[in-house]
Subunit: 198 residues, 6 copies
């Protein structure tokens, strides 16, 4: 089970609103490679993971990503406080606003609501960890792109923290994959399952 | 942020596998009225909730639902351990198995992956709480239906616990709605926003 | 069955085109809380509704919402007549135009086509009516937001009429829920189904 | 606007329940080529249809399809009344039942909720009528397949009526297309728009 | 099987970038009536097509559409090379850029990822060919709209070629439908299947 | 552009029909990790791939996957020829049959139509190749599962060929990733982009 702790993992204090930027950053809330997908992917993959170390890794990172989801939500929220209708229209934020006002809804920047089709749970050690490595790289690119698009230091500060964490997760999943390959070798399994390769 | 605590909110100990039942219960993992939708709905609605008591209520219930998601995942997992191909085929579990093996994937019993279109975040106190009341009733019905379909006491024990929690949440959201109505009256707002009703 | 009557429920006469506003208002045609969802939700819930008064209520409101769908379509249509390519591009209406020209397609303002995942039919009196109460509140907020974004009196006139109807429907569904609770009591059923609560 | 008339267009009186058959027939309620899609397609295409005769045709057929939607819903409902849990499980109806009990929800037989991606509104006379001709043929095939799968005379009676209506609609849309081609010739337009073909 | 040939079917040489136009044209890559849908529709319908001439027609056109998909991708790519962040933001291309940088992703202009719900494979000669006729008309309209929105001669040159091919395909499918009707008559079948019409 | 060659990459000759198995194998046609997704993913990623060798690799594998898509379609087709209604119903194939007869439609075994949300095109060398490595592993698992579920030697023969190709692709993408990392080092770029890591 999960226990909520009142502080964010890293503080979010944004001084200036910017609804356009919010409508881009929301992709890390509910977009194809965002934090919602990350947390649900890892927390779901745990059940069929046969090795305790890797199950713990998935739990650990999955729980941290829930905290990142919260942080991205806070960024979006702070960028959209007390907007005038004029600011909303100029930023093209009206298409989001009409259905969600200034609420935080799990959608991609493109407008597509989050869909579990964007995550994979294959019930296979190697495939699931490969999925996770790809996921971390895709999230890293999304943060890169946000940094390219944003010049708000209050935002970039947070985004840089989140981006760095994805890099760390990528490395940890890399170690996890090596560990898995070793363990499978011991039991005479390979990345390409020899039971089917003979 | 969230801290993981190793125990489940309520213990899950299922002695007999039952892939058919697993493929029904998974709807409370990733179905239209399941625990994934519940937790993401409440945790997302928090940001635009203007009253501290209600923000706390959403955080509190949203976090608990994450624990329920975990419990439902554990039920599905325990019902699908060490299956033979024969058991899988007889149960019609092959359509799930081909893409997820015995992993736990956020899907409805119908086979549709979870889609955020099934939750509402409107950025409006009354609408969001009404959505939550409906959500709890819909989750309650899904648990009712699982209880109607299952005769495994190990499973039903857990489902009854989860169902009871939804009833409690429904009551708490009902109190929340009353509280919100009062607060809005103080500031001269009504359920039907008088700014537009004049 | 349904009979078409040539007049709209409330007249729509819009003098000035405004493709940007059309692309926002279309969310009440095919968006998550729009009139398509409303009518299909209520007309679908009728079948399993056990009480004649409530079945009639669903039929009645569901049929009226079909007429509202038609009105919203008329608003969108009148706001997008005889546009120049320049008007289309300046309004960002090109993303819609390329696939639908000036046709009226059931989509959200966000660009997501209407999806039945956004409505609930649970086959349960209390859950379905709670869903309906939430739906009316969510539609009301969407109309509020359109009124916030639009300053065209010809449009707002129509939107105010539609918004008012949602408030009336909300009240009628509220009465419906009270009626249902009473009826269920008579037969010794409660909101929380005692068959499962013992 | 629409007026509800209490009788069905054609009577539905089914004596024997059959949840398996219901779960197939529901595709004509909310499946890719079903009556929901038909009615929304035609009623949506009306706005941009430039010729009064064709606008009337779309209104006329679209309204009739709403009545067919109602009839298909009635078939599904009557096939799923008073089921025992045993009947539900044997028929594989449990995957539907868990989320909708015996309510009628707009889904395909495959389990995918209805999605407006399955209909086209192009705002172009020829394209829209071609879409409609295709739609009627696809609906006709679905009814053919239901007739192949069902041996319940009470059901087939209704399905044959509905199938026949699709054939009539196909012919009427064919006449509509011929009419449109003539009208466009008068104004020096062709099926292949000469403005772009020079 | 397919063999790749290094040249495009028709050359794409675009001198000036234009991210806004790219974000519109991409609908012919991954939108509801685009080339991805076209190729997959025809190549999938082949299997159940009973007549060799029509199977060959589907293979032929389906393969050509794969080449058109490639051409549209090339247009989108060339319109989005070496963009500055400023150009990206001004064009509203940031919503696409954040998730795909300058990669080519199968999405509609509206932002909805391509969904197979937008194509029909009915396993019926008449229905499938009617679907194909409609598809070609819908693609033609999309190209018409691109030509209306674009004033880049390098782009329009390519789009005109692609549009013309759709018109040719429409005519070929028309001949295919006449051929099918004749063949079915020989075996005593009609457009309206007499086995069910007696 | 693509040229069609009449033979399959590997012959498909299945003697016995088996609609249940067909409804599982179709996931490699239109499921989350199937051949449609594979080919579109690689052929789409080509445009933004900066290195000629890797562009060629994507074209090469993407084109081969189109041939695999064709082979999987042939397997599904041959497993569903000349079925009786009785065979269809016993196999639970009726839910597919009602909407597609014996046509081959791009759907997952679960019933969800193919959705581009299941593929990633990030416009970033490392992320795209990581996505591809994961994709090949996920496809490999799906083939493993088909081999676990099927005991038809005619089918397994083909599936084993396809599975082996995925393993080869995985290795080639692994080499591609190493090549990319080297190339990026030359230009002073790392897997974790130092421009953002300083």
């Amino acid at each position: 089970m999960f226990v909520y702790q009142k502080n964010l993992q890293y503080p979010v204090k944004i001084r200036n609103v910017n609804p356009r930027l919010a409508s881009i950053i929301i992709s890390q809330y509910g977009g194809p490679d965002g934090e919602l997908g990350a947390s649900i992917r890892y927390l779901s993959q745990r059940y069929s993971m046969p090795y305790a170390e890797l199950k713990a890794l998935l739990t650990d990172i999955g729980t941290e990503e829930l905290g990142h989801l919260e942080m991205v939500g806070a960024v979006v929220h702070q960028l959209t406080r007390d907007l005038s209708m004029d600011e909303i229209k100029k930023a093209g934020f009206d298409a989001y606003f009409v259905d969600h006002t200034a609420g935080v809804y799990p959608t991609a920047a493109s407008g597509a609501p989050w869909n579990a089709a964007s995550i994979g749970v294959k019930g296979d050690v190697i495939a699931d960890l490969s999925e996770d490595l790809a996921a971390e790289q895709k999230a890293r690119v999304t943060y890169d792109n946000i940094l390219r698009l944003s010049d708000d230091p209050d935002v970039n500060n947070v985004i840089r923290f989140l981006r760095e964490r994805e890099v760390v997760h990528y490395q940890r999943f890399g170690e996890g994959l090596r560990l898995a390959a070793e363990k499978m070798n011991e039991k005479n399994f390979y990345t390409v399952n020899p039971a089917f390769d003979r």
